[in-house]
């Protein structure tokens, strides 16, 4: 029986008893994002949360692709690899598959992960490679100065789409769930407490974790998530998903609930109009991803009601675990390989 390290996601990674602080995780490099960028908040949240994990710093690796967010590894005093546009999941797969003793983090953006690197992302998720993938979604291309991205809304006016973009955006959560990722969550740059709580759960999950982080680009797409941040609207549209809790949101007369819809999905209804027993209780550990997928469709049309939190957290064996198990099985069955025996295998003949 395969041990999936259920609930012990960090068990293989060496720990330290030494007290770590935020300062230990800051590199000596000057941070060079635009002033006001949401990336600062995420960096600060990560730097201050990493010490809590108690892992040896040298066993943490940040791998990134290309884009504003992908500069992230330079600012953390861990091992880091700033790679190629879209390819971070592929590079991190080789690292994580060969080194089960590492906590490997992929930092990526909506363009990097969903456009040029879409293929690698879905395959890393379906394989359940032991990665924590942080997808900074600002719904715009920042580093190339403001073209629409695969998460931009239809009709987005940008430099490359002066008459409005034509293509329907990806919903990263739906995409990840479609690839049957074991851990899928959404959080937001401005809510440090929520962000860190989600990151902690992602880190502790052995296997592929996808965390979508709504991140504001104040230069090219400022205010994209304002309705989720503005105290006047925030609580009316944010649907906080908590495992084991009925899914309700909104305040006062506007309090609403989520229930199963007759069409097979989920729907939002006025709280006052439903019995408690009808309200959907969130089950992040449900092996069937269908309900999690249905929840990910709640914000269609976009930003009317936006689920935040852990959509799915299900254990299954991680890719490195299965790969190493094959190596161990092969060795146990036939012994460690002998090069001389290998070369002399098959039909041989001797001369002289």
């Amino acid at each position: 029986m395969t041990d999936t390290l259920n609930g012990k996601g960090l068990a293989l990674i060496p720990r330290t008893d030494a007290k770590q602080t935020l300062k230990d995780f800051k590199s000596d490099q000057e941070v060079r994002w635009c002033p006001g960028c949401g990336d600062y908040a995420i960096l600060a949240a990560v730097q201050s949360f990493l010490p809590e994990l108690g892992l040896r710093r040298e066993n943490i690796v940040f791998v990134s692709g290309i884009g504003c967010s992908s500069r992230f590894p330079y600012y953390l005093n861990t091992y880091g690899f700033h790679s190629i546009h879209g390819r971070a999941p592929a590079i991190a797969t080789g690292l994580a598959a060969s080194r089960p003793d590492l906590s490997v983090w992929v930092i990526t953006g909506d363009g990097d992960a969903l456009s040029i690197g879409g293929n690698h992302l879905i395959h890393a998720l379906r394989r359940n490679v032991n990665l924590n993938i942080l997808l900074f979604n600002n719904r715009i291309y920042g580093l190339t100065k403001g073209q629409y991205s695969p998460t931009s809304e239809i009709g987005k006016i940008t430099k490359s789409t002066p008459m409005g973009s034509l293509d329907k955006p990806f919903n990263p959560i739906s995409l990840a769930l479609g690839a049957e990722a074991g851990f899928v969550a959404r959080t937001i740059d401005s809510d440090r407490k929520h962000l860190q709580s989600v990151l902690r759960q992602a880190a502790e999950h052995r296997g592929a974790s996808l965390v979508e982080i709504y991140q504001n680009c104040n230069i090219f797409n400022d205010g994209a998530f304002d309705t989720l941040k503005d105290p006047g609207t925030r609580d009316e549209i944010t649907v906080r998903l908590e495992h084991g809790q009925p899914i309700v949101f909104g305040t006062g007369d506007n309090e609403r609930a989520v229930r199963l819809s007759p069409t097979g999905g989920v729907e939002v209804v006025r709280r006052a109009e439903v019995a408690d027993s009808e309200i959907l209780v969130h089950d992040a550990h449900n092996p069937d991803p269908s309900l999690a997928f249905a929840l990910s469709r709640l914000d269609e049309p976009a930003f009317e009601h936006v689920p935040i939190g852990v959509f799915r957290s299900v254990d299954r064996p991680s890719y490195d675990h299965l790969l190493n198990e094959q190596v161990q099985t092969a060795t146990a069955e036939k012994g460690t390989g002998s090069l001389a025996d290998l070369l002399h295998g098959g039909d041989t003949w001797t001369i002289g």
Partner: protein, 614 residues
């Protein structure tokens, strides 16, 4: 009737049939018997890219050529002495290569009106006089096989399918091959279907007995074993040798091998082979695409594995950006390109040497990469270890070129003793190398210019690398103009300074005026051609490049010491252009790009022309 036995010094046999006729298997088995017998040999499989083209058609013809001799040989042979034609398509497709007087063994059962018309024969060539200039042996292989298998509990279809084993038995009789190996092979192959095993063995033996009794074959042939260098031998194909070389490199470097690969003809067999040897600690990863294959290999290299990716030309095109990242992050990586006919999809199962310039230059920026090329199937073993040696010692991606001809061709290989293999072990950096306990990931070794290699998990050496230009020493992001100029030159100097053995010249009398130079898989045909030219009383020197970047230090000197340098290549003159540019030597190119290896006779004529022309 006592049959006559004739002594021969060498024979070239071509088995040809429909893709479904099992010609590759038949060829493999005849090769194994021949290797077991002790002849020197060389093989050339030739098959369509289509898995099953329509039966009986010309595009569906699959063939396997084997050259074996009582002396050392260098190529699979130019023209077959014997053609085994399992159907009209096989006859039609191969007759053009067959010299007059050669033997044709044709399966008459398949020469039906329908099959004949499929390939455009008006009449039956076995029955009219059109084959009178060859020695035709018309044998009803299928019906003889079915008859021999009466009484076995197998379907008629399975009985017919065993006709290739009947043919193998007949050929084994004809050339006095040992049969035990094939019987054992069939027992093992069909262990789960004992009735099929028995039937195939019976068909094989029936073929042998048929040769012994029929009047159709009055002579059998004996080819004495070759005298090869003492040692233990096995037959090996280029892809298998390359896989074994990579395993040996892993053992000799004491690093776990990580292969990231995406299936592609003709490289896939390396992935298949390596995936069988997990007990060497090998991890094979079949990626979602070529880019992920090389990406994963590079990620594993960052983590301290021996990172390898295997592919063919179109795959190299896709991997280019990641190879560039390996160049600039200075991580060891082996990229194997089993070249095939291009451009684009080209002819996937046919060979070519057309990726040299891509291997050398197919990346953005100044992106120097060492390039190696194996000369023979068994040389793939040696060059795989050499690729690893250079990658690890200099912390660089290395491009190792093979091609379809080497990949699928085979030859006897003297198995090296383990202590003959080089020690290529590396030491990871575990201590700070800068002031105040700092770690400088780009502080170079003064001799090799290699940077240190500190892998994740090493305390105190945490550092960041990436594709953006790095400051010399610290590796921090740098846009400083002079730093960039310096780093570009340092990376180039590191590759230029790789220790590469001198180019050796084979010039028996030492006074030849013409040098024939080659690289990669043309070694066999060029060396065989040089022998012929010398046997005809001419003088020619021969040299072969296995290191294409950097070139051996004495290359210019060697080229300049001959009046003429002839360079045959299976491309339009890629190396010739480089040598002309670099050494200002007026290299004479000979180029053919037919998807097939050169023939020795063809090159002998070209060499002779160059010697005689003034």
């Amino acid at each position: 009737m006592t049959k006559q036995v004739q002594q021969l010094d060498r024979v070239i046999i071509r088995f040809a049939g429909d893709s479904g006729d099992g010609m590759q298997l038949t060829g493999d088995r005849f090769t194994a018997e021949t290797a077991q017998f002790g002849n020197d040999l060389s093989t050339l499989p030739n098959f369509p890219a289509e898995i099953r083209a329509p039966a009986g058609t010309l595009p569906g013809v699959s063939s396997f050529q084997l050259h074996f001799a009582d002396h050392d040989i260098l190529t699979p042979g130019d023209a077959p002495n014997v053609l085994v034609a399992m159907n009209p398509a096989a006859l039609k497709a191969n007759l053009g290569d067959l010299p007059k007087g050669a033997d044709i063994i044709a399966n008459t059962d398949e020469f039906t009106k329908r099959n004949l018309s499929k390939v455009g024969y008006d009449g039956n060539p076995l029955e009219d006089d059109s084959l009178s200039e060859w020695r035709l042996h018309a044998v009803p292989l299928t019906s003889l096989t079915v008859k021999a298998l009466e009484g076995y509990d197998i379907s008629k279809k399975d009985a017919e399918r065993a006709k290739n084993m009947f043919a193998l038995g007949l050929l084994s009789w004809l050339y006095h091959r040992p049969t035990e190996g094939t019987i054992q092979f069939l027992e093992a192959k069909f262990a789960k279907k004992p009735e099929i095993a028995k039937a195939n063995i019976a068909a094989f033996q029936a073929g042998w007995n048929y040769g012994e009794t029929t009047e159709s074959f009055s002579v059998s042939y004996e080819i004495k074993p070759a005298t090869l260098r003492p040692g233990t031998y096995r037959n090996i194909s280029g892809n298998q040798a390359l896989a074994y070389g990579l395993i040996a490199a892993s053992v000799q470097s004491k690093l776990p091998l990580f292969l990231g690969s995406y299936p592609i003809t003709p490289a896939s067999d390396i992935l298949h082979e390596l995936s069988k040897h997990k007990r060497f600690g090998i991890r094979t990863f079949q990626a979602e695409d070529e880019i992920a294959g090389v990406g994963a290999a590079l990620g594993a290299a960052f983590g301290g594995s021996l990172g390898v990716t295997t592919t063919s030309g179109p795959g190299v095109a896709l991997k280019a950006e990641t190879v560039g990242l390996a160049v600039t992050t200075e991580l060891p990586l082996i990229v194997v390109d089993v070249q095939r006919a291009g451009p684009s999809t080209g002819m996937p199962t046919k060979t070519e040497q057309t990726d040299l310039l891509m291997a050398l230059y197919g990346r953005n920026g100044e992106s120097p990469v060492p390039v190696l090329a194996a000369a023979t199937p068994s040389d793939c073993f040696t060059m795989a270890i050499e690729a690893a040696r250079i990658a690890l010692k200099y912390r660089t991606p290395v491009m190792l070129l093979s091609d379809g001809y080497l990949a699928n061709g085979s030859e006897p290989w003297r198995i090296p003793e383990i202590d003959e293999l080089p020690d290529i072990s590396v030491l990871f950096t575990t201590e700070p190398n800068g002031d105040d306990g700092a770690y400088l990931p780009f502080k170079r070794d003064s001799e090799t210019l290699a940077r240190p290699w500190a892998v994740p998990g090493t305390a105190g050496l945490e550092h960041r690398i990436g594709g953006i230009e790095k400051a010399d020493g610290t590796g921090n992001i740098s846009y400083d103009p002079d730093n960039h100029d310096k780093m570009v030159r340092l990376r180039q100097a590191k590759i230029d300074g790789i220790d590469v053995p001198d180019l050796t010249v084979d010039d028996p009398d030492g006074d030849a005026r013409v040098l024939v130079l080659g690289w990669g898989s043309t070694y066999g045909p060029i060396a065989a051609a040089a022998r012929r030219v010398r046997a005809a009383g001419h003088k020619v020197a021969q040299a072969h490049l296995r290191h294409l970047n950097p070139l051996p230090a004495n290359t210019g000197e060697v080229l300049r010491s001959y009046d003429k340098v002839l360079l045959p290549e299976i491309n339009l003159g890629q190396l010739a252009m480089l040598l002309r540019a670099r050494y200002l030597v007026d290299v004479i190119s000979y180029n053919r790009v037919r998807g097939l290896p050169f023939k020795a006779a063809e090159l002998a004529a070209v060499i002779q022309d160059v010697i005689e022309s003034d």
